[in-house]
Structure formats: structure tokens, C-alpha cells
């Protein structure tokens, strides 16, 4: 799992042009792993289909 997360981390950084310097990578990846654990709590929750995202654009 951690390898998958690390692969995603590096690929996402490249994709959105946010280079992570080698000396910063370990701490940033550790922070990303914490976020991944928190994100699981969010994405595993089954929301009713009619629920809309909180920010709504009002023209």
C-alpha cells in the first residue's frame, strides 16, 4: 500500500508540476500518508446520491 501511495505521490507531483526536492520528500510523503488515512474515512462513507458538494456556485 505504501509503495502505491509513494508511486501516486511522485506521479501526481510530476503531473501537476509541483516538484518535491529530495531533501523534502520523506517528510512530505509521511504527511501524505497521514492524509491518505484520513481520506479513507471520507471516501469509504456511503453518501446518498442526492447529496451535493457543499460549495455551490451561484451565478
Amino acid at each position: 500500500m505504501n509503495d502505491t501511495v509513494a508511486e501516486y505521490f511522485d506521479a501526481a507531483a510530476a503531473l501537476i508540476a509541483l516538484p518535491v526536492r529530495p531533501e523534502h520528500r520523506e517528510e512530505a510523503l509521511a504527511a501524505f500518508l497521514v492524509l491518505t488515512e484520513q481520506a479513507r474515512l471520507v471516501t469509504e462513507f456511503d453518501l446518498p446520491a442526492e447529496i451535493e458538494a457543499a460549495p455551490r456556485f451561484t451565478p
Binding site: 492524509l35 474515512l41 471520507v42
Partner: protein, 447 residues
């Protein structure tokens, strides 16, 4: 001891010419110059401007004019508020190269139009991303009740300055707990109003979805006065009566992991309001998680350019979380914002039965400066992300909260008084009831 007086008292005395605004100011400056080197609340002191403003207040009164309800009251603001002539740096090194602000933040202008005298800007966690006010660029802010301990954050300078008697009123911001947590750890009152209630113009952002502005004070009267002055329209709602049967202590997530003395503080507040009910805000752990992810994402995206081009200039405590946040998949943020709508609906159901919900403001009293971990539910966990366990689910849905300091020996303990959206008056009335009963109190720290 003028530095121990409330804003309301100072304004009344100045207007009655019992003391001049200049004398009030000099007393506060003397206290700041004597004690702030040890506490490090202020990052910018603008005493020249303050003396000009105090002189204007005194001249106005001498001319028979009313300078306003904050006549001669010294105030200060977190250094993410624009102050004309100063660079707004939000606790960062990166923004220091920016030109100075050309005008005060509108919300600051409102307080100054009411006669307040601005002392300067206050320390904070870098870019408001933290709960400790241990700042790599500006140093640590120390808790006035025990300088070996943190003041909380991110508005740590704002809370500590009030607790220390440097000003009776300050302003800060709260995205995940940054008003409520330092208020609690420093033993003062803090108000996080309903999301969008206060104009955020002229302040440096952190998370668009959750950023709030609000005041710190040593009394509910001052907190209420500041809150009214900070808005476009004055919601001078008569203070509602608190019905004990409509007050509940939040259980579940809001009890798990809290130190026994924090739960005792909540029980004391509940007793003071005559409450015996408990209520459950379901899925609060997921709400906290969603707030955690959205905050990291929006903050990371806000700072993406500087993270890419000058990452070495960020506080080492901030940089990894912003980098990580910016890289999160869209699915997480979209689902977190959908969950936010669901969680709001759950809270609204609770407010059909209750007017006030009570919860600890923090899981513990003020940790030591430099402390890295905290024990929650018997497990040792990182301190920084876990101090906001009980504040994050509430700001996630923008509810108004008054953080009240529960009177007693030992380190300060704070309780969140949470009301339905737009019902600040109810939360303030409950806080005032506890204050009148002597259950909540915010004495100036003995320095």
C-alpha cells in the same frame, strides 16, 4: 492596574475623563515592553501610530465628541490582517518581500472607527497552518500562565496578548480551531462566528472553505461588543434566555480521548447551564478527517507556486503538509465537500432539539513548548494534528462557537459553547451566564 481592565471599562473611563486614552496606552506599552520579550506575542509594534490615535481620542473627547464604544481601547491583530504601512506576512518569510499594505483590513477599520487604538501585529503559526504558534521565522509564543508551555495556535499571539494584559481585545482567525484552541489554552474568551458572518477582506487566506475571523477578550461583554462592531449590520438581538433542557453535552467523538480534567470542565459548564442531556453528532471523526483533507488541499494549492519555486523558505513544520495537501486526488476533496453537506444536515437535526451543544475546546491543557506527542485513548499520537480534534468538526460546518475559560486552579481549560448557524447571541448568552455565576473567568495572568 489599568492593564487588567476590560475594553468596556476602559472606554467608559476614557469617555468620562477619569483617565486619558494616552494614559491607557502608555500603561499597556509599559507592560508590553516589560513582559513581551519573554512571551513573544508581538511581531510588529506600531506605538508611534498608537500614540497619534490615542491623542485623537483624547482631543475628540475634549471637543465634546464621542469617539465610539471602544474609545481609547488598545487592540492588536494577528499578523495576517492588513495594517497600512506594514507588510502582511501571515507568519511567513515568503511574504516579507511584499509591499506594505496600503490600508487597514475593513474589519480593523471598523474597530478603529469605534475609537480603538492599534498597538501592532501578533505572532501566529506560518500561514495559519498549526495549533502551536511555534514559528520558525518569528519564534515561539509562550503561554502567559506558564511560559514553558504553548499558547496554542494559530492565533497564539492574539490569545496570549489578551491573557498577559497587553490588550483587552485582539483579533484572530479560525479555520480549524485557531481562535478556540489558543483562547482555551490561554484562559480567555474567544468567538468564532458563523462562517461568512465577518468580512474576510484585507486578511491573508488559508482555506477558503473554512476561514473565519473573530475576537479574543477577557469578558463576554467585550467579546459581544467586538463582534457587533465587526459586522455590516448590527444584529443586536436581545440576549436569549438559556433553557436548560435545550443544552446538551456532545458525547461520542467529543468525549473520547479527552483528559479527565477537560471532561470535568465540560461537566462544570453543563452544570452551570442546568444541562443534563447528552447528544451525539454522528460521524464526527469523518468530519474531522474531511476538514483535515480539505484544509491541506486548499492551503497547498494556495501556496503551490512558492512550494514549487522556493520550498526552502517555508517553515519546516508547514512545508510537508502543504506539499502533501496539494497532491491529493480530486475524489477526496469532492467527497469531503459532499460529506460536509451531509454532516451539516445532521447538525441541523440536533438543533431541532437543542440550542446549545457543549464540548471540550482541546483534548488537554497547554502542552510544553517543543512537545511532539500527546496521549489520546492510551495511544501516543503526534501533537500538532491532534490538538484540534474537537474544534475541527465544528468549523467544518461553520457553526458559531464561544470558547469559555472555566475558572479554577491549574492550567486553563476551555469549553466550546456551540450554537446553530447565525445564533451567536445564544452562545454569547450562555457564556455570559457562566461568567455571571463565576464558572467562567479570564483573569490576567500573573507575570
Amino acid at each position: 492596574m489599568i492593564f487588567a481592565a476590560s475594553a468596556t471599562e476602559i472606554a467608559a473611563w476614557v469617555k468620562a475623563r477619569k483617565i486619558s486614552a494616552a494614559e491607557v496606552l502608555e500603561a499597556h506599552i509599559a507592560r508590553i515592553e516589560r513582559h513581551d520579550p519573554a512571551l513573544n506575542c508581538f511581531t510588529d509594534r506600531i506605538f508611534g501610530r498608537a500614540r497619534t490615535e490615542a491623542a485623537w481620542v483624547d482631543q475628540s473627547i475634549a471637543a465634546g465628541k464621542d469617539p465610539g464604544p471602544l474609545a481609547g481601547v488598545p487592540i492588536a491583530v494577528k499578523n495576517l490582517f492588513d495594517i497600512a504601512g506594514l507588510t502582511t506576512r501571515a507568519g511567513s518569510k515568503i511574504l516579507r518581500d511584499n509591499p506594505p499594505a496600503t490600508a487597514d483590513a475593513p474589519v480593523l477599520q471598523r474597530l478603529q472607527a469605534a475609537g480603538a487604538v492599534l498597538l501592532g501585529a501578533l505572532n501566529m503559526d506560518e500561514f495559519a497552518y498549526g495549533f502551536v504558534t511555534e514559528n520558525a521565522h518569528d519564534g515561539d509564543t509562550h503561554n502567559p500562565h506558564d511560559p514553558a508551555r504553548i499558547a496554542g495556535g494559530s492565533s497564539g499571539g492574539s490569545a496570549a496578548a489578551v491573557a498577559a494584559g497587553f490588550a483587552p481585545l485582539t483579533l484572530g482567525s479560525d479555520t480549524n480551531g485557531s481562535i478556540r484552541l489558543p483562547a482555551a489554552l490561554c484562559g480567555i474568551f474567544g468567538l468564532k462566528p458563523t462562517l461568512h458572518r465577518i468580512d474576510r477582506a484585507g486578511t491573508f487566506p488559508f482555506v477558503d472553505s473554512f476561514d473565519h475571523l473573530g475576537p479574543f477578550a477577557r469578558s463576554t461583554a467585550d467579546l459581544t461588543l467586538a463582534y457587533r462592531l465587526m459586522q455590516d449590520s448590527d444584529p443586536a438581538t436581545p440576549a436569549p434566555a438559556i433553557t436548560p433542557a435545550r443544552v446538551a453535552v456532545l458525547d461520542g467523538w467529543f468525549e473520547q480521548g479527552a483528559a479527565p480534567d477537560m471532561l470535568a470542565a465540560v461537566a462544570t459548564a453543563a452544570g452551570g447551564l442546568g444541562a443534563t442531556a447528552h447528544a451525539t453528532l454522528p460521524e464526527a471523526a469523518r468530519a474531522r478527517a474531511a476538514a483535515f483533507c480539505i484544509s491541506a488541499f486548499e492551503g497547498g494549492q494556495l501556496h503551490k507556486h512558492n512550494l514549487a519555486t522556493r520550498p526552502q523558505d517555508f517553515d519546516p513544520a508547514t512545508r510537508p503538509r502543504l506539499l502533501a495537501g496539494a497532491l491529493q486526488p480530486a475524489e477526496v476533496i469532492y467527497q469531503a465537500q459532499r460529506f460536509r453537506a451531509w454532516f451539516r444536515a445532521e447538525a441541523q437535526k440536533l438543533f431541532e432539539t437543542f440550542d446549545i451543544l457543549l464540548a471540550p475546546a482541546s483534548p488537554c491543557t497547554a502542552p510544553l513548548l517543543g512537545q511532539k506527542t500527546l496521549t489520546i485513548n492510551g495511544a501516543e499520537v503526534p501533537l500538532r494534528p491532534n490538538l484540534g480534534l474537537y474544534t475541527q468538526p465544528i468549523s467544518f460546518i461553520g457553526l458559531p462557537v464561544v470558547a469559555v475559560p472555566i475558572a479554577g486552579p491549574g492550567l486553563p481549560r476551555g469549553v466550546q459553547i456551540i450554537a446553530a448557524a447565525g445564533r451567536e447571541a445564544t452562545a454569547l448568552a450562555a457564556a455570559a451566564q457562566l461568567e455571571r455565576a463565576g464558572i467562567a473567568a479570564a483573569p490576567v495572568a500573573a507575570l
